[in-house]
């Protein structure tokens, strides 16, 4: 009745596809059966990929149910890591680090310049659905500050010219 919050009933729901469940199962095999929650990050990533790059509360609930852990625990993970999205995103996700090293090296100017070029602020997507801009925490590349990430690639020692070149390469 009143246990919607703590309901640990296990099982599948129709929010995720059989394909997704099969992929999550691959990860579950790596952990002891009573430690299903170890697969939470992989499960979120797989589900996000399936759902055009972003998560919904339905997906989070479905994962919690499948891994038999409280939904709030899944939401904690999903909101802690900036790689998980909670709103629809563009084709290319530009993640600009604004943590200390990048900040000291002018990451703010990079953000300003992207705004000048694309007209989007952090958290926004261009009208054509091509680019999403994100402000992210340290990506472990302080040596190349200021830096940003698109897809799986890092772009370091950024200048407005480098940003121009990058944007023109992405389509």
């Amino acid at each position: 009745m009143s246990t919607q919050s703590t309901d640990l009933s296990e099982g599948k729901s129709d929010v995720l596809s059989e394909q997704t469940y099969a992929e999550i199962d691959q990860w579950l095999k790596k952990y002891p059966p009573e430690q299903k929650k170890s697969a939470v990050m992989a499960a979120l990533r797989i589900a996000q990929d399936e759902n055009k790059g972003y998560l919904t509360t339905d997906i989070i609930s479905a994962i919690a149910k499948y891994l038999a852990i409280p939904a709030i625990e899944v939401q904690e993970v999903a909101t802690f890591y900036s790689m998980y999205e909670h709103n629809p995103v563009g084709k290319h996700k530009i993640c600009v680090c604004t943590n200390i090293s990048c900040m000291l090296n002018g990451s703010e100017h990079i953000l300003d310049y992207i705004y000048e070029r694309l007209g989007i602020k952090p958290g926004e997507t261009t009208k054509d659905g091509k680019f999403t801009l994100k402000e992210v925490e340290c990506l472990g590349a302080c040596v190349g500050a200021p830096m940003l990430q698109v897809g799986k690639e890092y772009h370091e020692y950024l200048t407005p010219e480098k940003v121009d070149a990058l944007l023109s390469r992405l389509d």
Binding site: M1, Q4, T6, E73, T79
Partner: protein, 802 residues
């Protein structure tokens, strides 16, 4: 680790202790102050606030001394720490400055002001000015339900509330989402917290982010008077502090007692005080004259009462009965039975929700849990029979959960309804209530086989043809293997028609598996009232009166007596069969109601209404399920004309001119029982009664029957009038009828439809909910809620109409 002794030095002071403990524990023990926010002795170490940084002597020559968090630094031999060195203080001040960056510093409008850990520590370690000139962050408040108010901008993310949910409450409802500056404490999709111990996060919160919603803006902590008291709503007897202002109860807080409630308190014990000023409080004595109610003074009320009863008593054929709440105090119970017995009668009972009294002479002196509450963690197997332990006795539920987590205790359950326990249940038998005895017989058979023992006389015929199920076999094996196994009879079991058989079988199982057995009971003082002699078959301290056994609760409520005295109960809610209780009482010519509250229903059957104190307004004693006698004083004076029930009963005793009624205080009343009482160690197991199974074990007919229990916030008059508790998620069940899909199809009931449930001559309207945890042929309808006051006893047939 373990017992290895080591010596450390803190601020030059040598301390000998066990290796591996955290520095902060040792500092606390010897009284060296270390500031902290996230550390709490009852929770795991998070080390995320960094306020407890102290300087540690470097391990190697030439290395700079590090600063380390005292809460997360396990000590080893020869370690040296400085908690007040310039380096330690600089670190602490630095952390303080960061913590205050986003804190709103709105102490003047914050309820936590004056009892705030952040405020206290900021005085010691904060600066009078801030270097921070940027905008502070603002966090949206969360709706956590009717008990907990939130001001999330004040949160410093210590995560005590999150760890409490995971480690103590056992329901992980609060969490920390986001990261860095975007971190927020919240629930998933923002819902009310369902834990029955949720409000402990108010005490845990070191700032004003989580405060008491009912208390909000009503007083300042330093204005309040503290009175030590005992919680009045379960058989634990949690220790509490009642905080009052201008003779009003403002707040109730836990009082630390390691043997009972530790530092915790159930929400029920914390918020029941809200009923103190409920509109239904009875203000003055009242008498019904010619069908009209008239207010009167105490003198008139009591002399009328005595005159009326005296006439009845003179004729020896007349019968007078007294029914009292299992939460009445020892003193009240003792005086009431003394009056009843002074009139030459033995009709007194507090077991108002029990159905089967056939073996009452086998009852122990008082219902005892059979294991000390603080020893529950040493049990290695526990079988709960008919217990919703978390809602019925939240503190014992918590203790059992800790046993499961720390001692790997195996918990098994046999019940008529699947409860959501906050711990894993290894074996679960959920059956039609009339099959519970059969299930226990199956477990007993498995144990007999394991022990190569033959069945006791009378049982052989019953179990001969029985097949032992896998689950019964496993339960038997677990109990047999347990070094310290325990069976617990829960609140629901007393309402069953074959309670005597069930208890006998449970006792047999306990004997065969060399386990112990214990009782959990309704109310705060079932044990005390048994000792006080509030039983038809026993006088005070268990003296049997075999020649002259009085009527038990069901007898008193099934045939109308000439007069009734009702103390602290609302029979339309508190008895097993409300319909019958009301009919019986209405037919009686004299019903004296002693209660703190009054309702229209009460006015229908009562002839005299006497306003009495709530447990917060009277002195008295509760005896808990471990036999602990705990006395308390009234925190506030009684409401309007209400008087402590023991005083009213004392005066009544005098007016009836009964002997030995010259008590000047409740202590003297208690003393007169205590002087006759010798605490004895007893075994709850009972001697085999062969005749009990002559009629075999129940046969189930296939008609759907009503199953029931009392929701946690419906248990007594006070709790039912604590509005904040009534608004909680748990009470959403109050107007529901639950059944499984299979039965719903047979009865053609659909979820969310309103149906009329009929039982004998009464009916009630309920909303259908489909619940697969309800066994076949069972219809769950709660007891002790407004919608069921016209219904008859649970565990009998009902019919349902759309």
């Amino acid at each position: 680790m373990g017992d290895k002794k080591v010596t450390i030095e803190v601020n030059g002071q040598e301390i000998e202790t066990q290796a591996g403990r955290m520095l902060i524990e040792i500092a606390d023990e010897v009284g060296i102050p270390v500031p902290r926010f996230c550390y709490h002795k009852k929770l795991s170490v998070a080390a995320n606030c960094r306020m407890c940084l102290v300087e540690m002597q470097a391990m190697r020559e030439g290395m700079e001394n590090p600063v380390v968090p005292a809460c997360a630094t396990p000590i080893g031999d020869g370690m040296k720490f400085y908690t007040k060195s310039p380096k330690a203080i600089a670190a602490q001040k630095g952390v303080m400055e960061f913590l205050l960056i986003n804190h709103p510093l709105d102490c003047p409008i914050c309820d936590q002001g004056g009892e705030c850990e952040l405020q206290d520590i900021a005085i010691g370690y904060g600066e009078g000015y801030s270097q921070y000139t940027e905008a502070k962050r603002v966090v949206k408040n969360k709706d956590l339900g009717p008990l907990i108010a939130t001001d999330m901008t004040r949160c410093i993310h210590c995560t005590r509330c999150v760890r409490f949910g995971e480690e103590i409450a056992g329901t992980r409802e609060l969490g920390m989402i986001g990261r860095g500056e975007h971190t927020e404490i919240t629930t998933y999709l923002e819902h009310s917290i369902s834990s029955e111990m949720s409000a402990n996060v108010i005490d845990l919160c070191p700032v004003g982010a989580l405060t008491s919603k009912p208390f909000r803006y009503s007083a300042r902590s330093w204005e309040l008077n503290n009175v030590d008291a005992i919680a009045a709503h379960d058989c634990v007897g949690s220790n509490i502090i009642v905080q009052t202002l201008h003779n009003k109860v403002k707040r109730v807080l836990p009082r630390e007692n390691e043997a009972l409630n530790e530092v915790w308190l159930s929400d029920r014990d914390r918020f029941s005080y809200l009923s103190q000023t409920h509109t239904e409080r009875l203000e003055t004595p009242m008498i019904k004259k010619g069908g009209e109610w008239q207010c009167c003074d105490w003198n008139t009320a009591l002399t009328t009462l005595v005159a009326e009863l005296d006439i009845l008593v003179k004729d020896k054929k007349n019968t007078i009965g007294a029914l009292l709440s299992p939460s009445s105090t020892l003193e009240e119970g003792y005086l009431l039975q003394k009056i009843v017995r002074g009139m030459g009668q033995h009709n007194i009972d507090f077991r108002i929700r029990q159905q089967d009294f056939s073996q009452q002479t086998l009852d122990p002196l008082y219902p005892h849990l059979g294991v000390n509450i603080d020893d529950i963690s040493t049990l290695d197997a526990v079988m709960l029979i008919g217990s919703n332990i978390h809602k019925d006795q939240p503190i014992i539920g918590h203790r059992l959960r800790q046993a499961v987590l720390k001692n790997d205790t195996k918990v098994m359950a046999v019940s008529h309804r699947q409860y959501s326990f906050h711990f894993p249940v290894t074996e679960n038998i959920i059956v039609h209530p009339q099959r519970i005895a059969l299930q226990l017989a199956g477990i007993a058979k498995a144990l007999l086989t394991l022990n190569n023992a033959s069945a006791p006389t009378g049982l052989k015929e019953v179990i001969d043809d029985m097949l032992i199920t896998d689950i019964q076999q496993k339960m038997a094996e677990k109990l047999q293997a347990a070094k310290r196994g325990h069976l617990i009879l829960g609140n629901m079991i007393y309402g069953l028609e074959d309670y005597a058989q069930i208890r006998m079988l449970a006792s047999l199982i306990a004997s065969l598996s060399e386990c112990n057995i214990g009782y959990l009971t309704e109310g705060a003082n079932a044990a005390g009232l048994a000792i006080a002699g509030c039983l038809p078959h026993r006088k005070e301290v268990g003296k049997e009166n075999n020649q002259d056994v009085g009527l038990h609760a069901q007898e008193m409520l099934s045939k109308t007596l000439d007069a009734y005295i009702l103390l602290g109960i609302e029979p339309e809610l508190d008895t097993l069969n409300p319909q019958q209780a009301i009919n019986t009482l209405t037919a009686s010519s004299m019903v004296v109601v002693m209660n703190a509250f009054v309702t229209d229903t009460m006015k229908q059957y009562a002839n005299i209404l006497l306003p009495i104190s709530t447990p917060l307004e009277t002195s008295g004693t509760f005896v808990n399920t471990n036999g602990m006698w705990q006395s308390f004083t009234g925190a506030v004076s009684p409401y309007k004309e209400a008087r402590p029930a023991w005083k009213v009963l004392r005066v009544l005793g005098n007016l009836f001119e009964l002997d030995d009624f010259d008590y000047r205080s409740s202590e003297e009343v208690k003393e007169s029982i205590a002087s006759k009482y010798t605490a004895e160690k007893f075994d709850n197991r009972i001697i085999w009664q062969e005749h009990l199974f002559e009629n075999r074990i129940n046969n189930v007919n296939n008609e759907p029957i009503r199953i029931s229990d009392v929701p946690g916030y419906a248990i007594d008059a006070m709790v039912r009038r604590a509005d904040a508790l009534q608004d909680s998620l748990d009470m959403q069940i109050a107007d529901k009828v639950l059944m499984n899909e299979k039965l719903a199809q047979v009865l053609q009931c659909h979820a969310d439809n309103i149906v009329e449930v009929e039982q004998l001559e009464g009916s009630g309207k309920f909303i259908v909910a489909i619940d697969e945890s309800i066994p076949d042929d069972c219809i769950y309808i709660p007891s002790a809620v407004a919608a069921t006051t016209n219904l008859a006893a649970p565990f009998s047939t009902v019919s349902i109409k759309e």
